[in-house]
């Protein structure tokens, strides 16, 4: 799991580094990278979010992969496909859809009156669909302000172990299947590069 995340981070970070080495006199964009941060709002409260993604541009479309951190209710690390559509005369507006899988934090142990128990979380579908505005900061750099609807599916399993004289002792398992619906607002730094 850690290795997968490391590889994804590497894939997404390399373009940012490559960008700094480009020549300034290029004409058309073929690749993009995004780094965003913001807040998530929903029934469970307000939580932070941070993501990066990279991919290719084709006309008004962008397609890439991304990953990051999503703190809504349960800490988790989504990995997703990033589909974007720019519209408006000067591409001032955009819409996007991220869809993939999120990996929640692993397992924890706890004690209730010294009876041991474990908690674990299982990931599931992750989706994020939103709209936003683009502010130009330079030839390659843009600032994006967006708002989106998010969904993630989480399974939370709590196991309590009962006392007994002869182990292994019996336990009690509660399984909670959450469908978490929430809204996000984000500020994103966009880089377009590798021009011809």
């Amino acid at each position: 799991m850690r290795q997968i995340i490391q590889v994804l981070v590497l894939i997404m970070v390399i373009p940012f580094v490559a960008c700094t080495q480009e020549k300034e006199n290029s004409k058309s964009n073929h690749f993009y990278s995004l780094a965003s941060a913001g807040y998530l709002f929903g029934e469970s409260g307000v939580f932070p979010v941070a993501q990066i993604s990279s991919g290719i541009s084709f006309k008004n479309f962008k397609l890439g992969i991304g990953g990051g951190y999503d703190g809504y209710r349960y800490n988790s690390f989504p990995v997703f496909a990033d589909l974007r559509l720019d519209f408006g005369k000067r591409k001032k507006f955009f819409g996007y859809l991220n869809s993939g899988y999120h990996f929640p934090k692993g397992e924890e142990t706890f004690d209730i009156w010294s009876y041991p128990g474990t908690e674990k979380w299982e990931g599931g579908l992750y989706a994020d669909a939103g709209l936003g505005f683009r502010f130009k900061l330079g030839e390659k750099h843009n600032l994006l302000l967006s708002s989106s609807y998010n969904y993630k599916k989480v399974r939370h399993i709590k196991t309590y172990i009962f006392p007994c004289l002869v182990p292994p002792c019996p336990g009690d398992v509660y399984t909670y299947d959450y469908g978490l619906n929430y809204i996000s607002t984000r500020l994103t730094w966009e880089i377009n590069y590798l021009k011809k």
């Binding site: 709002f41 929903g42 029934e43 469970s44 209710r73 009156w113 010294s114 009876y115 041991p116 936003g132 505005f133 502010f135 302000l145 967006s146 708002s147 609807y149 196991t159 309590y160 172990i161 009962f162 006392p163 007994c164 004289l165 002869v166 182990p167 292994p168 002792c169 019996p170 336990g171 009690d172 398992v173 509660y174 399984t175 909670y176 299947d177 959450y178 469908g179 978490l180 619906n181 929430y182 809204i183 607002t185």
Partner: protein, 420 residues
Amino acid sequence: MKKLLFPFYILVTILPMIIFSGCIKDTCRQSRSYTMYVPVYKTNEEVRLNIKSNSAKEMERPGKLFIKGHYIFLNEIDKGIHVIDNSNPASPRNVSFIDIPGNVDLAVKGSILYADMYTDMVALDISDPENVSLKKVVQGVFPYRYYDSGFAMDSSKVIVDWVTRDTTITEDCGNSFEFWSNENALAFSSDAGGSNTKSSSPYGMGGSMARFSIVQDRLYTVSDEDLTVFNIQNAIDPLYTSKVDVGWGIETIYPFKNNLFIGSTSGMFIYDISNADQPKLTGKFGHVQSCDPVIADDQYAYVTLRSGTECQGFTNQLEVLKLNGITDPALVKIYTLTNPHGLSKDGDLLFICDGSDGLKVFNAATPSNIYLIKHLTGLTTYDVIAWNQKAIVSASDGLYQYDYSNPNEIRLLSKINYNR
């Protein structure tokens, strides 16, 4: 105009947060699996007729064990006793099964085996271990067994088995699950850790978890709160003699010379049994609340404390106590362990079952400087009897036998698998 665009965009972006964040809701469905246990009853007469050597059964949920000659008597919790011919430790044979419903503990004197049967005690003739017969039933000597959540057994009959039915229910979070036990059946979760194996009886009961120990002509048994004395001068006719209140959370009893070492969740008690029928408290050593099997020799007591399960403690360690003439035991040293259960000592070798951390063999020649000489991993151990260069280890998946004639090269002789 352009200057106003940025605040406008921000407002338009943030507006949905304000408008919609209160409207969208998280959804939650909860599910829980459980097993309903319905008791199977037999009459007292039917049960007593079946307390004999029956055909061997597979081991599913073994409990305590007792070695007599080249036979191992291994309790199957709440079901009876397996008789294992161990004349060749490299190839033990499961030869027969004695049906004793409600059985948890056992002890042997000569050719008589004593066992609990719910609230009763039975005396069996085992002079021919493969042809055991019932000699006597002493009724109502152990505390009445109680169960969780309103289930009450029919006291005119005996529970010999449980029929199980697995169910899973799913509903919105926040609703309470309606599957509690009633007067006819017990409900237990069926999802978790290894407990609810097929045809096992439910847990959660207390009261008659008796523990037995024989010293000369007396059988001493401890329940959760008291020490009971039986006169077994006439072995086939055990007589209830007396009962002594020893506190609460009593777990183990270990005899040594004229003393009984009683382990409880709150400490170790020493009872003098010079007057065999009237045990007298002569010493105690308190500690944090933990489970604590005890063994002792002439000068030292060895107490393992463990956390978790029924023990409600946070300590996992071996405590070595100097007995100081029994009346004033004093701590010599503490050794940290993982989750110690049963222990056994043979000469200078100290064997400790350290739960999921396997079996640990220590050199205990100097109690203040005990050191590990062998660590057997890959098994979850509960209890050990080390005797005559052979260690019989009760583990989660089977009964192991080791040859420790060379402590540095402990050798697995055999393993009887449990059918879990």
